[in-house]
Amino acid sequence: MRVLTTFALALVCAGSLAGQSEGIFPFDYRLVELDNGFKAYLIKAGAPGQIAYVSIVRTGSRDEVEAGKSGFAHFFEHMMFRGTDKYPNYDLITSQMGASRNAFTGNDLTVYYLVASSEYLEQIVDLESDRFRNLNYDEPGFRTEAGAILGEYMQGALSPGRWLDERVRSLAYDRHTYGHTTIGYEADVRAMPEGYDYSLSFYRRFYRPENVVLVLSGDFDYDEAEQLIRQHYDAWEAGYVPPNITAEPRQRGTRRQTVRYPGRTLPVLSINYKAPAWSDTNKMAVATEVLGEVAFGPNSAIYRKLVIDEQRVQYLGAGFGLARDPALVSISTMVVNPDDVEAVEREIQDAVEQARETLVDERMLNDTKSAMKYGFLMGLETAQNVGFAMISYVINTGGIEAVDEYYRTLDSITPEDIREAARTYLIDSSKTVVLMVQEGGE
């Protein structure tokens, strides 16, 4: 067994974000790494007497490569609460601890967490490692849970955001699994009760130590926590089988569609481009994230014009967060007057062209860097929030070391980098435009 112990770098300059060379991450942590590939990050943060135990599986709807199995990563998340031979009633045990616990699934991740009093650490390590290693559920229980998933699907099915997201993805992607949403297609959700055997293979392939990272944050003793983790996770057998995900072929030409929402809505315009994968070191990737803020964020020229001054749109949003594989970045807006949709789209196109042609103002860039850093720091208030702030780094890189590196790269971004990112990624041949209008008109 190999156990690495890392103490993070020295002091952040007190009260200042200048001089990031020593790292933005303000807490000490210890990394415990086992021979089977399992990693645990132990971070002391938050309030006394509480811990957050966040198990991050680097599998999400991205891994649903088989036809008819969309939504399965999320379904499997539900099954993880169905108990083991040792702890047949997960709910009962965690209720006795009064733990706050839940889970969520996304494109690239499935995350399980408990927030509880520190006194339960030993029991939680046992309980959580046990369900990752020895989950046991029968087919009737599996079929019952499928009904809850259908309910979850239906309660948000007509939310305009999700409805539109489904359509954007299916138009934009030809091959990659980002083409379906995490909740899955309705037909696949309705067929879930028949998928018992598939669920077992899902567990065998993906719930393996090489594919799961634990972030324990809060109030605990390093040595005690490390010893417990070694004791309970060391015998977990390696055997992760990476999914065979087809890369998305290069898009050749703008795609465009108008879709009719079966409820009431003002027109929503969603403009999307194919972006690079997330990276902590690739300047073009980080510059793309900054570009979204600079060109379309709440402090951008177009936001001021369309939302505040002219009030031609109800909102304008930029989704430029990158993912583990190359995914879409998007600009979306709700247009007040249906006759104004074309003109609003032209305004957005002008802003895109401006980003490709001109250099961003230095002050705007510095303000954006500051906003991104304080956005990160402001999120580090509780043990749970500290654990959650680590999720994207773990998903994209397998660890949290990238936090400091990411913000160092951010510091180095220049106006030229932003322009280069716009020239590389905001191109017409990789654009997908979906306009959602109300069925039957206003």
Binding site: G15, P48, A99, R143, T144, A146, G151, M378
Partner: protein, 504 residues
Amino acid sequence: MKRLTLISACLAAMVACGGPKDTITLEEPDSPFIAFNIWVKAGSQDDPAGKEGLAALTAALLSDGSTTHDSYEQILEKLYPMAAGYGYNVDKEMTVFRGRIHEDNLESYYELFRNALLSPAFKQEDFDRVKSQTMNYLERSRRFSRDEELSKELLFNVAYAATPYEHPEEGYVESVRSITLDDVREFYDTYYTANNVVAGVGGGIPAGFAQEVRADFDQLPIGDVTAPVAPNPSMPEGFKVLIVEKQTDASAISLGFPISLVRGDPDFFALMAANSWFGEHRNSFSHIYQVIREARGMNYGDYSYIEAYPRGYTTQVPPTNVARRHHLFEIWIRPISLTEPGNLHDRTLFATRAALRELKALVDNGMPADTVEATKQFLRNYTVNWGSTITRRLAYAMDDEFYGYPGAGYLNAMRPGIEALTAEDVNAAISRHLQYDNMYIVFVTADAEGMKQKLLSGVATPITYAGEKSAAHMAEDELIASFPIPVQEEDITIIGINEVFERR
């Protein structure tokens, strides 16, 4: 060592702190964050008739508008590098403005926050923008994006008919349409006065800062407002049903009745324990969750409440600053979907019957001592999560001021209050406050007339399963499927989705 470690001494500081009633401070010296909570003693209950939604629109304009110092654009530009903002929440009785900032940026942030509340510019273009966003919500999003929240709002609407709590905080389509900028100015002048504002500050506050904040708010003129009389709605006689007709494959269900119990009452923790066992919010500890979701897979979750819990789908911890002088007992059954064409109403009624049957069992049989002990054990630790951030701890302290909560406050009183409970206490509270003969029920579903006829017929509404179930399970299902919902035709109202909250 890095500079941050555990935020220590915060709990002790919380207990030790306090202050005059117009200022609440929660000092946590090790925290790098400072939180603000400015409570204006005005809510939707103060909306003038025909101008329902005015309190909310006023707060929205202050939060999202220009000040006499900065245009709204300049405010956004200044807030941007701090990654900070401020927001508002308007409930029946309270308006609060909340914000949180990193200590590095306190000074420049506070200036903007203070100006937003004390020096609003009341610009017409800001008003038009904020009103247009509100109208869009009222005419479209509220009716079409989340039926489960709509059914909850409608439950409060029918239960509080003819009281100041009747209308939704955001108002009706017609009433908001009629609100002018002058209405907003007048509301501000009336309610945003020095003696009607409580200032809350928490976290790593510099010395003397809380006093500075108070002095700023004391610059407001002195006013004279009286809160409306607290609502005291009567219990419905029997079952009163509202069915909203909407094209959908899933039904939203809310049911409940008025209770006379608020935080601080002697029975409060006892009823909180009973409710926690029966329906703890978004927790599988909830008994009705176990019956409807876990054993039967009918939906995503099933919970109950003894205090208002708006937008429960967004949070796992109780909302703060929705303190009220009156509450409902409320059951929330999350959307029930059809599993094959034609079975939506059977499934909707089955789930409703299951919840009512469990409520009857709770009222008739009470809770056995071991269940009470298990609930105490659960709540003892679970409630610790409710005060996890300085924003929340401060908000609870503001609510304590609303309720006149004694001592170290509600958050600190919960644990000992729960520890001290006996099964007798819990069962006495159940029999004093809960019942199952009188109930408001709201359904949002397709084919409302068909639903009404099925409900009136009293016919059994069994469900089927994708998998095998035990004989005992099926026997219980038979009892649930025919559990009576005694309702008269004149007590069922049907409205179309486009009429919902159009006008009073």
